[in-house]
């Protein structure tokens, strides 16, 4: 699998280039997920992630795109070691070369929230409603470094709050989560996530619950922080527009598998996998006149408790053949930097 850190981000600013190169020089991708499988055991065994492989280069933003049940959240929780007991995780997750699967909990705890941090969709539920904002941020600081004095932790917390552009940081320090708006709470969550200077930030639908104008502010902040701190970001979203605007690479998931991956511009200009194509056809666009019918595909995503022999999208796919139902298409690099899993990719002449 290619590490897509060869070229600088399409967004190209000098600062980004130097960080990307610096990261590349350290050797190997920051995160390497190989053949990850996650099964949930219950009355029925549900395979939520089915052979997922991808890499995250240093200081890049990779968007995981997919609908509910595509496995994007489960796979990222597997990285954080946050899955419940009923989950069986196999495969390999290497972070800076170190295998995370099977890592003893104390070791995992130092990585979680340390080198890898995560922010969630609902900041109201992630924050403790009975604790002041400041206390929650300093607690995060102390969790990863007990030697920090209270005064230094206070200074660091204020610094973090200013970093995430929380207005009137010193006043906010003494406030409770309910006194903050949704956008401000998400800023607090980001401040906490950044407290230990993570190398990888996983943002799981971090702006989905926010209004568009607030979402724009938070995404701008995240991008700015990512560049300034040289962090890699895994951005989990169902919103292709958001991915197109903010990610360097996009990985499209369906039914627990990766189905297409490419640098953002390439993916959106040369869609190959039929599912990605369907997704793009199904979003209403500002450019279109009103009442233009959407290109809807019929059917539902597959039942993940039934093993899929072929391509999971085959039953809904307009281009599907018998082969698609029987043989699983490999997820492989079929054009430079462009990987897909499809027997009948769009815009590619069939090989005889």
């Amino acid at each position: 699998m290619s590490a897509n850190d060869a070229g600088p981000a399409a967004t190209g600013e000098p600062a980004v280039v130097s960080q990307a190169e610096e990261g590349g020089a350290a050797g190997g991708p920051l995160l390497e997920v190989t053949d990850l499988r996650v099964d949930f055991h219950g009355a029925r065994t549900v395979r939520a992630v089915d052979g997922l492989s991808y890499t995250v280069p240093r200081a890049r933003t990779v968007a995981l795109i997919g609908e509910s049940g595509s496995g994007k959240t489960v796979s990222s929780r597997a990285i954080m070691g946050l899955l419940p007991e009923s989950a069986r995780v196999v495969g390999s997750i290497r972070f800076e070369g170190e295998e995370l699967i099977g890592l003893p909990e104390p070791k995992m705890r130092s990585i979680r929230g340390g080198s890898i941090a995560m922010i969630f969709q609902d900041p109201a539920r992630s924050l403790n409603p009975t604790m002041r904002i400041g206390a929650q941020i300093t607690e995060a600081i102390h969790t990863h470094d007990r030697s920090v004095s209270d005064a230094a932790a206070f200074d660091h917390a204020i610094e973090l709050m200013e970093l995430v552009r929380l207005p009137a940081a010193r006043e906010r320090f003494r406030q409770y989560p309910h006194q903050l708006s949704g956008g401000m709470r998400q800023r607090v969550m980001i401040a906490m996530a950044l407290s230990a200077r993570p190398k990888l930030l996983i943002a799981d639908e971090a702006t989905t619950a926010l209004d568009v104008t607030t979402q724009a502010q938070i995404m701008e902040l995240l991008r700015d922080l990512q560049r300034r701190l040289g962090m890699a970001v895994i951005m989990i979203s169902h919103d292709l527009g958001l991915a197109a605007s903010f990610a360097d690479d996009v990985l499209v998931m369906y039914a627990g598998r990766a189905v297409e991956r490419a640098p953002t511009r390439k993916l959106f200009s040369q869609v190959r996998m039929q599912y990605t194509r369907a997704l793009l056809g199904a979003i209403p666009r500002l450019e279109n006149p009103p009442h233009l019918p959407l290109a809807a595909v019929p059917g539902q995503p597959p039942d993940l408790s039934v093993q899929q022999l072929g391509c999971p999208f085959a039953p809904r796919c307009p281009a599907a053949s018998q082969k698609c139902v029987e043989v699983r298409p490999p997820f492989a690099e079929q054009e430079p930097e462009h990987l897909w899993a499809c027997w009948h990719p769009a815009g590619v002449e069939p090989r005889s």
Binding site: T264, E287, P289, Q300
Partner: protein
């Protein structure tokens, strides 16, 4: 044009918030003097952010709860002040579809019973007639009655459950359906299916919709006209084409600029264009224009005089002293478009990027109030 299907004038809805010990702490001005109309067979989109009052407005239209003041005329009947029994009868042709079908459908009932309930409540037809009507309704929304009729909501997917909610709303032959974020919780592909269904029903049954959503692209997809709300007021209302092509109110401009485009060839959408700050509290809205505290174009006048809705283009109204207009499409957009039109699956951009007031390089034209 004959009488509109729905005519809302000066609708006001306020709630009292109580502080500690039941002391009156303030009044939430949720909807402050909103007027609009919906013609038969027309879709009016209503957009706004959280707290803009769009859901409160929908509920005030339905008289649940009753508004503080104003008028709601539906099919020629004034609903405000109507006695309960007459209200129930008058409201029969106005139905509501909510965001979360699992929250709005009784989990213990089967699909058939859920769709039949409004018919039973209004004593429509005999048992056999109702059964046929229910099967017909399930069929209309694309659910095979023999497969789905006996399922309970939890045995359905989100899209299927929303179809049941729509079938239920259709049961009494409504002329207006209020969709309150009706497709917002659905996945992209399923959402497209349900949107296409709503569009088909509109043309086949001549339905009118009041379509409430926070997603501007989604609203444009279904609407003939669009109203934009901010902090309890309609700040702009006009034909969908014109409103998206030439937004007049700085808030609409900011909203449009905040949407990330699924086309990475476009300038990385929201960067640098995001408006700052957060909406003020509806308990103590700003004087004059309510958007002035975040508006890049605000001047002294905006704080003292509340701008009325004025018709600034054909059928296109905005409440702003210093409205934005876009004169000519940006030339670079069309050139780019032609170059990549053939290979790109994304639809070429017809709308040029709107000059935002924060960009000093391209100042938008200002129309002075006459």
């Amino acid at each position: 044009m004959s009488e509109p299907l729905l005519e809302v004038s000066n609708l006001v809805q306020e709630f009292t918030v109580r502080g500690g010990g039941g002391v009156k702490a303030g009044v939430v001005h949720a909807v402050s003097g909103v007027s609009f109309s919906v013609e038969p067979g027309e879709t009016l989109g209503l957009v706004g952010e959280t707290g803009s009052g769009k859901s409160t407005l929908a509920r005030a239209v339905l008289q649940a709860p009753r508004p503080k003041s104003g008028s709601v005329r539906f099919r020629g009947t004034e609903l405000v002040g109507l006695k309960h029994r007459q209200l129930v009868r008058a409201r029969r042709h106005m139905q509501l579809v909510f965001q979360d079908p699992f929250g709005s459908l009784d989990p213990k009932w089967r699909a058939r019973a859920l769709v039949e309930e409004p018919l039973v409540a209004f004593k429509v037809g005999s048992k056999g007639e109702r059964r046929r009507r229910v099967d017909e309704l399930l069929d209309v929304v694309g659910l095979d009655p023999s497969r789905f009729g006996n399922r309970r909501p939890r045995e359905l997917s989100g899209g299927q459950a929303q179809r049941v909610a729509i079938a239920r709303a259709l049961a009494l032959d409504p002329s207006l359906i209020i969709c309150d974020e009706a497709v917002s919780s659905l996945d992209v592909l399923i959402r497209a299916q349900v949107l296409n269904l709503l569009e088909r029903l509109r043309s086949e049954l001549g339905l009118a919709y009041l379509f409430i959503a926070h997603d501007l692209a989604l609203v444009k997809q279904v609407s003939d006209r669009v109203a934009v709300m901010y902090l309890g007021k309609v700040v702009e209302i006009g034909p969908a084409d014109s409103l998206y092509r030439e937004p007049l109110h700085p808030y609409t401009v900011a909203l449009l600029a905040s949407i990330p485009s699924p086309d990475p060839e476009q300038p990385q959408a929201p960067v640098g264009k995001a408006i700052h700050g957060e909406p003020p509290s509806p308990i103590d809205p700003p004087s004059g224009c309510r958007f002035r505290t975040r508006c890049p174009r605000a001047q002294d006048l905006c704080a003292t005089l509340e701008p009325p809705l004025r018709e600034l283009a054909a059928n296109h109204y905005a409440a702003c002293h210093f409205p934005v207009t876009v004169d000519a499409p940006a030339p670079e957009a069309s050139a780019e478009e032609a170059a990549r039109a053939e290979s790109t699956p994304t639809v070429p951009v017809a709308t040029p990027t709107v000059p935002v007031a924060t960009q000093p390089s391209r100042p938008p034209t200002v129309r002075r109030p006459s």
